[in-house]
């Protein structure tokens, strides 16, 4: 797989130096043909690619263009009719009827012009919004298809600004900029032809003047294109800064860093302001040229034309006609500057859109997908063979996993233990292919996960993340997120069971019970609460393989004990991999695998490993941490320390009455925590 687009640089809202926003640097996305071409194609070529999305609207845009041209030509015709009326009926001994007829003709033309105006609107505007929506939806689908690795690299604001403001700019250009550009250009050409018909000498003067205009416009394109692109990038960065300042609001508040974030944001906004003013400066140069030159040409034409007329080479009528025509032509010419700028802005936006659309997904479905064999009675077998994984990075790759061999036996639960940062979470995410291995293979019941469609694979494998992600939907919908086609009583039963296992009975005491909307747009739950809903969600899918990332980290000891006991029952028969940081989580597992330096260095029961595996002992008991302040390496090297984990030997015998009573009391104690949703472990059964 060739490498995909490097992300745009992202300045931060945290006070940091040396994060120059050199937008455009490293913007060399892979094109569809893998040519690695620079995204600095001509505006025409880039904008032509819009046809791909605008195709359904093309006929109407073209028709709309013609009606716009019609309206603009009609506007030119009205003065001709006027002249005819005045020279005819009024100046000669005309009748009232002739005048009335003339006025009616003008009226008819006027109504026709209005009709054309309406036609352009009706023809172009609606399909324009359809094109915009289609592009927006296609972008969204593409983003959903792109792997997690892509999303890790791309700042949210950059994607959002592409989905909203860039597509808006493209739509406006399609329905207005493009049409007016063509109309203006055509009007100008027709006008110049008329000039040649009137007087070729004066027409030549006009065309000669047009040469520097064209040259200046071309120069302008170069300068403006760069600034336009930079402005778009900075807009995306600003959106990112806003997003982070809102998502990280608690940190900013906790440290009172709102002002620093503000300073940083204002600095970025000011950079954008500078770029926009830069753009205006470039635009002003071309505005000067497009404004002054045509008028100056007329001054020259006056100096040339009057002597020509004086010497009888040109009629007075032709002289007047030339100036009349030139006055009409100058309008669209002056407008060209703005329209050109709009076109280049649209080009920058299109580039940004295509940059994402042209990024091919690195985690794709196989051409000829295999089907997963029916689940064996005892459960599925998951095998990792020589699995390697390295984060792709611009600065060389750093290997996280370097040859992991691990077999998850059917129907058993394996705990994965290792120091923080040892790659446990990464390993876990390789199973549902949220990332792809860079070497080796992961198989489920003998089938390489890369030979399955992602849909089939992820139906078979369910995940609970340590950082639980819930969506703006009801509790019920969140729990049923991974179950397909489950309705009615069956779905209810599934939800009940999953919530029960996860000790998430608190949801029943939410304002609308299971129908309460949670997530970003709903009620905010505490970390422990969210974790339990996410756990319920994973359980509810009844997967063949369940991977849990430290699923109980935010639970208090009592709740954890309850959930652990229930989970063990449920997990029986489901092949599971559980990342564990603590002995209490290890208790879920039938056996433990130790991840150390990118490899599995030990597999066995908790007691075995505790007795025989120094690193395992260290990770779970920290008994080597007697040399505080020392680094990870030193910590890992210890071997001499042993002994049981802290706690009196008799601890296991003590059983708190509370725990025995379990959570049944929880529901009745009736404590609540207002809008935060009061919670006691477990719930009414």
């Amino acid at each position: 797989m060739p490498s995909a687009t490097p992300p745009p640089p992202r300045p931060s809202v945290v006070p940091s130096e040396g994060l120059a926003t050199s937008a455009g640097a490293g913007q060399a996305p892979r094109t569809s043909g893998g040519r690695g071409a620079e995204r600095d194609e001509s505006a025409t070529r880039t904008l032509l690619r819009l046809v791909e999305w605008a195709r359904p609207a093309v006929p109407r845009i073209v028709t709309g263009g013609f009606t716009a041209l019609g309206a603009s030509l009609l506007a030119l015709a009205v003065p001709q009719v006027l002249r005819w009326i005045v020279n005819g009926p009024i100046l000669t001994d005309g009748s009232s009827q002739a005048v009335v007829a003339g006025a009616l003709l003008v009226l008819a033309l006027g109504v026709l012009e209005a009709f054309f105006v309406w036609c352009r609107r009706a023809l172009v505007a609606t399909p324009g919004t359809t094109v915009e929506r289609d592009m927006r939806v296609r972008l969204f689908r593409h983003l959903l298809d792109l792997p997690v690795e892509f999303h890790d690299r791309w700042a949210g604001g950059q994607l959002l600004s592409r989905a909203m403001s860039d597509l808006g700019a493209i739509r406006r250009w399609l329905v207005f900029g493009l049409v007016m550009l063509l109309v203006s250009a055509t009007t100008a050409v027709v006008g110049v032809v008329l000039m040649f018909v009137t007087s070729w000498v004066l027409a030549l003067v006009y065309v000669a003047g047009a040469v520097p205009m064209v040259w200046l416009s071309f120069r302008f394109r170069q300068d403006y294109k760069v600034a336009a692109r930079r402005a778009r990038e900075q807009t995306g960065d600003l959106a990112t800064a806003v997003e982070e300042s809102v998502h990280g609001i608690r940190v900013l508040k906790a440290f009172g860093r709102g002002d620093d974030a503000l300073d940083d944001f204002v600095r970025q906004a000011d950079e954008l302001r500078e770029t926009e003013i830069d753009k205006a400066r470039t635009l002003s140069r071309v505005s000067f040229a497009l404004g002054a030159i045509p008028e100056a040409i007329l001054a020259v034409a006056l100096a040339v034309g009057v002597p020509l007329t004086a010497h009888g080479h040109l009629s007075v009528g032709a002289l007047v006609a030339f100036f009349a025509t030139a006055a009409v032509v100058n309008n669209p010419v002056e407008r060209l500057g703005q329209l050109l700028a709009m076109t280049l802005d649209a080009k920058a936006s299109t580039d940004r859109f295509l940059q994402v659309m042209d990024t091919a997904s690195t985690v794709t479905d196989p051409l000829e997908p295999h089907a997963l064999p029916p689940a064996p009675g005892a459960g599925s077998t998951v095998e990792l063979r020589g699995v390697r994984f390295a984060h792709r990075s611009t600065r060389g790759s750093s290997e996280v996993l370097s040859g992991v061999d691990l077999v998850l036996e059917p129907g058993t639960t394996t705990a994965l233990v290792g120091l923080t940062g040892s790659g446990k979470t990464t390993l876990l995410q390789l199973v549902p292919r949220l990332y792809d291995v860079t070497g080796g293979a992961v198989t489920i019941d003998g089938v390489d996960v890369r030979d399955l469609t992602r849909h089939d694979l992820r139906r078979a494998v369910a995940v609970a993340f340590e950082d639980p992600i819930l969506f703006s939907a009801s509790v019920r919908e969140n729990v049923l997120l991974g179950t397909d086609d489950l309705t009615g009583a069956e779905a209810d039963a599934r939800v009940e069971e999953a919530l029960e296992v996860a000790s998430a009975g608190f949801v029943r005491r939410l304002p609308q019970g299971l129908a309460t909307v949670i997530g970003e747009e709903g009620l905010s739950l505490s970390g422990g609460q969210r974790q339990r809903v996410a756990l319920a969600r994973a359980i509810a899918t009844r997967p063949r393989v369940l991977v849990l990332d430290d699923p109980l980290s935010a639970l208090d000891v009592t709740t954890e004990a309850v959930v652990t006991r229930r989970l063990r029952e449920v997990l029986r028969g489901t092949t599971s991999l559980v990342v564990a940081h603590r002995p209490s989580t290890v208790a879920l597992a039938d056996r433990v695998a130790v991840l150390e330096d990118g490899r599995i260095t030990g597999v066995g029961t908790h007691e075995d490993l505790l007795a025989n595996h120094p690193h395992y002992r260290f990770v779970l008991t920290a008994l080597a941490a007697h040399a505080p302040g020392d680094g990870v390496e030193e910590r890992g090297d210890e071997d001499g320390v042993d002994g049981p984990p802290g706690g009196p030997p008799g601890a296991r015998a003590q059983r708190a009455p509370r725990d025995a009573a379990d959570d049944a009391t929880g529901a009745r104690t009736g404590r609540h925590d207002s809008g935060r949703a009061g919670v006691t472990p477990g719930g009414a059964r």
């Binding site: 945290v14 006027g110 205006a280």
Partner: protein, 605 residues
């Protein structure tokens, strides 16, 4: 999506409310314009001058044909040189004026945009967590992006278009009235349907653009939420369902937009029609009068041309008005956001807390979130300076609430929280943030380098200090092993770092911040045992002589505290040293037993 968010209601309740909303947004516009008033007026003046230059052109041509031509034929080239020369100068001047206008207009509009962006950012930072929890991040993002964009579209060329158009219309109308007042009268009559049409458009499009802003916000909220949770979307194969919802929202947005554009099309067409009918009418009346010799032919032609020209800028003004309506709807949203009052306001007369000892008292504190039920009915508490206090209790017992009140994320309903005898509501916010730092479970990393993320604890810290903080929590080796060490850019949300490492980084922040009162709210939940041990050790150094409030499920963290408070149902039910409480055999003793058991837990147990 309920009554909680009034802005999602489709239509303001009544006219008065609508007017109030509109006037608030106009006040915002006024306050944005006032700092750049001088530049704005200068822009308008430049536009006037460039219009004059534009009008002057044809006059030179007319002079050339009418006077210079006969003069040249008579052998005098003076008038021609004069006409052509003056035209040339005017052309250049006109070009210069236009160029200057473009620059100045950009300067004005960009200054306004910078102003509004900064204001919104500052305000959202000032607003309390309570606000953020209900307003949603996506909506704030949509305010700062798509609403500001709408404003930008108005400002980009809006001012100049408006000034040009209005000027041209006024010039033309005055010219026509002077030329022939009867034709002028026709024109003025034609203005009446024009006003009616404009008014219709204003009312309809105002409503439409409000819908459009709301629809845009919905698309943005969904987009942000999906992209933030992309892992879960993919893992649970929600792509199709998520797309379907998004499709509907995108279609809603398209429909409201298309409707707004359609309205504008009707408006535009209507104006063209009114203009053309007026021209025909002027021609009819004038023509008949000319037939009877009541009107000179030249005047008739001029009158008709003037009438035509009068309506020409209307199309542009219509476009401007369209942009204006869209921006006005956006301004309403922005103004509404800016009008939100922080529920935790800065003190009017701030008291300084220069050398905090962090002696903490809760005096008769009663608290509940928003208008919700009471969470803490009555808390009396004294945490002497230098004490490390652990808060223990089940989820929802009110531990985090106590912490949030201490950090003044929320304000009490009754009573007071005092630090060194001062009510936290009176303490200078800068001093308060320096004295009190809270580390939460959610270890958010900002994009930027790892070093910068630690430096968040104390901006301006030297690299040595940053490294010392990282060493203290044991994350130095991890960072040193990264490609660029402390300069390594963290990925979005720090995904390159493990959850535990992220918590260590946020701990390092707290070390660097060096507060008098440190609050740890589940700040160690993702750490592994060695990591926690190391942090514990670091904390012992850090906490020596400091006040600390520790909330942790892990009793390993709690056992090191000087004192344990067991919170249940918003009340402190047990209070004592860990050892005392274990002995006493209450809730804490039960938790302790569970913990002991969990430590000994094994697979075979």
């Amino acid at each position: 999506m309920s009554a909680l968010q009034p802005e999602f209601r489709d239509r303001p309740a009544d006219r008065a409310e609508s007017r109030a909303i509109r006037s608030r947004s106009m006040r915002l516009l006024g306050s944005l314009l006032s700092p750049v008033a001088a530049a704005t007026w200068l822009t308008v003046a430049l536009v006037v001058l460039s219009q004059v230059a534009a009008v002057a052109g044809p006059a030179f041509v007319a002079y050339g044909v009418d006077h210079a031509l006969p003069a040249l034929q008579g052998g005098d080239s003076g008038p021609l040189v004069l006409a052509a020369g003056a035209y040339l100068v005017t052309a250049l001047a006109g070009g210069l004026l236009t160029a200057w206008t473009v620059r100045l207009a950009a300067r004005v509009s960009q200054a306004i945009l910078l102003d509004v962006r900064s204001r919104v950012f500052r305000h959202t930072q000032r607003l309390s967590l309570e606000f953020h929890e209900s307003y949603t991040s996506g909506r704030i993002i949509s305010r700062q992006t798509s609403d500001v964009d709408a404003l930008r579209e108005l400002l980009d060329g809006g001012i100049t278009t408006l000034a040009q158009g209005v000027l041209a219309m006024v010039f033309t109308a005055v010219g026509l009235v002077l030329l022939d007042w009867r034709s002028g009268l026709v024109l003025l009559i034609a203005v009446v349907p024009g006003i009616v049409l404009t008014r219709w458009f204003q009312v309809r499009s105002q409503h439409q653009y409000r819908l459009s802003r709301t629809a845009a916000a919905r698309v943005i909220i969904r987009f942000v939420e999906t992209m933030t949770g992309i892992r879960a979307v993919q893992a649970f194969r929600r792509e199709r369902q998520v797309s379907e919802v998004y499709d509907d929202l995108a279609e809603d947005y398209r429909r409201t937009n298309a409707e707004a554009i359609r309205l504008n099309g009707v408006f535009d067409t209507g104006l063209t029609l009114i203009g053309n009918v007026t021209v025909a009418t002027v021609l009819l009346i004038g023509g008949l009068r000319a037939l009877h010799g009541e009107l000179a032919v030249g005047v008739l032609i001029a009158a008709v041309l003037y009438a035509r020209r009068f309506f020409q800028p209307l199309a542009q003004i219509g476009m401007f008005y369209n942009a204006f309506q869209s921006a006005a709807a956006a301004l309403e949203k922005l103004a509404a956001l800016l009008a939100e009052e922080p529920t935790v306001p800065d003190p009017v007369r701030p008291v300084h807390l220069r050398a905090p000892r962090a002696d903490v008292r809760f005096e008769g504190v009663e608290f509940g979130y928003g208008t919700g039920p009471t969470v803490l009915p009555h808390v009396e508490l004294h945490l002497p300076a230098g004490q490390t206090v652990a808060l223990v209790g089940e989820t929802g017992a009110g531990k985090s609430t106590v912490a949030k009140l201490l950090a003044r994320f929320y304000d009490v309903r009754q009573g007071a929280v005092r630090i060194d005898g001062l009510d936290v509501r009176d303490i200078d916010p800068v001093d308060l943030r320096r004295a009190v730092v809270m580390v939460t479970q959610e270890a958010y990393l900002f994009s930027g380098s790892v070093g910068a993320n630690i430096a968040l604890g104390r901006p301006g810290a030297t690299p040595e200090e940053i490294e010392a903080a990282a060493r203290a929590v044991g994350v130095h080796d991890v960072i040193a092993a990264m490609p660029d060490g402390y300069d390594t850019e963290v990925d979005k949300r720090g995904t390159r770092l493990s959850a535990g490492q992220r918590q260590l980084v946020s701990f390092a922040r707290a070390f660097l911040a060096d507060p008098a009162l440190l609050i740890l709210d589940e700040a160690t939940s993702s750490l592994d045992v060695p990591g926690e041990a190391l942090v514990q050790h670091g904390l012992r150094t850090l906490l020596a002589g400091r006040t600390a409030v520790v909330i942790a499920h892990r009793l390993s963290t709690v056992m090191g505290a000087d004192r344990v408070l067991v919170v249940d149902g918003g009340r402190v039910v047990e209070d004592g040293t860990p050892a005392q409480l274990v002995e006493r055999g209450g809730l804490f003793a039960a938790l302790h037993a569970d913990w002991q058991r969990s430590l000994g837990a094994t697979a075979g147990a």
